[in-house]
Symmetry: D2
Subunit: 139 residues, 4 copies
């Protein structure tokens, strides 16, 4: 699967369209998903809502798995640890495959905020498992 194909797959997710997510890299068991910070994605203190970070973790983990194991996947589950308040201009989620087994792909993800100068700051880390369909349950 190429970047353009993966981008088409992302565009078929209405929720990803609502959040303005875009794939900027895809391949070799890795994926980078980004979205611009907007006022309607914040929490009460002006930081990016944790739910936006967890959406990005979920989706980046699954696209990274797709870059290793093809398109027929279901996210089995993931863990996220928040590190600091998420402020900046862009959220960048970098995910990569740790191991692609026959029916289960395990990935890690770094969630970074990018400021006006392009400086990244790590705001959360995630780890998750994605099931290949045919041998899997999940969502």
């Amino acid at each position: 699967m190429e970047l353009s194909t993966a981008q088409k797959a992302l565009a078929e997710q209405p929720f990803s369209v609502l959040l303005g997510a875009r794939l900027t890299a895809f391949g070799d068991g890795a994926a980078v998903l980004e979205l611009d910070v907007r006022p309607d994605l914040l929490q009460q203190n002006g930081f990016l809502h944790g739910g936006v970070l967890s959406y990005a973790a979920d989706n980046a983990l699954t696209f990274a798995a797709g870059a290793a194991a093809g398109p027929h996947l279901l996210t089995a589950g993931f863990t996220i640890d928040y590190l600091r308040p998420a402020r900046g201009r862009v959220l960048r989620a970098r995910a990569q495959v740790v191991r692609a087994g026959r029916s289960r792909v395990v990935c890690r993800c770094d969630l970074l905020m990018v400021d006006e100068e392009g400086v990244e700051s790590l705001c959360a880390v995630a780890q998750g498992a994605i099931s290949t369909v045919g041998g899997a349950d999940g969502a």
Copy 2:
């Protein structure tokens, strides 16, 4: 904190407003957060996007913690396991405190889809930790 106060806190989260989330119960170390399924919250197969479920887990876990430990909290992190595709009319996230320590509150959450007849089906389960501010980092 009463339900109406918690509802006001939720209304101050622009991302929760974007998703149409509402608190329907709050108190005694528990919280119920709901949202109506809408076309723009789906993934490519017509199910509720996993990122909406993870948002609901994150927020319901934190409100449950708030029902035990007050409003000054930061979500430290959580784990979610998806169980089946999320289809239905309403997403209902029921969270409750497992233990409220001095600086860390651990909670569990059931994520249920409610169909047209009001029948619930369990679609995901989550477990997470929330830090009390003053002794904590997080987001």
Copy 3:
């Protein structure tokens, strides 16, 4: 599978024998695993070592899955949150299936310490996924 069969399976795990683990209940998608606190299972402050709790979570989760899905299973992964120092006479890990899918079983576990009077205190909670063999990787 009956309790006695499950107990035989536990007795075939040398590490479970080393730790003195025993199954006291098994069936209907649930399992209870116990072990007596011994000096060689402690950490530096005289509490049960977290690694003993995580062992018990891992094994109880997997036996609960086995009570729903049969013996051919591999633990995919789990999360544990520690709640308080583990002191007492016996560690009791109560696990139950949340959902048994075709290729993946999700379970939760409560880890309790039992004191001299038989009073339980909840010391950790866990959530995990177990893969059915034939459609799974893991350990």
Copy 4:
């Protein structure tokens, strides 16, 4: 804290002594914990028991946190994903700090099996949070 001090701390954990664990590196927010595979650490199929891997994850994560934040720590919780059956001569757990906040340190850990030729194979990955004592609960 130096390696020798950390080794002394490990030697004060009876459960770590029982398992034959040793620290082979410590410093700069990282720690390496190893143990030799022994017959009494196995599961029923001759692989290292998952509970040994989870013990090593728990302890390596916490020692890595100690290499950044000092000795007064409590493991808050962690997640482990198993990747493949653990066979080999030595288990090596490499953990490193992702972020050391004021009251919470988040770390990642790779769990590798080392064979007779010294070749490493990645068998599990973990991510966890450790609380600094004074502002924390846990075990």
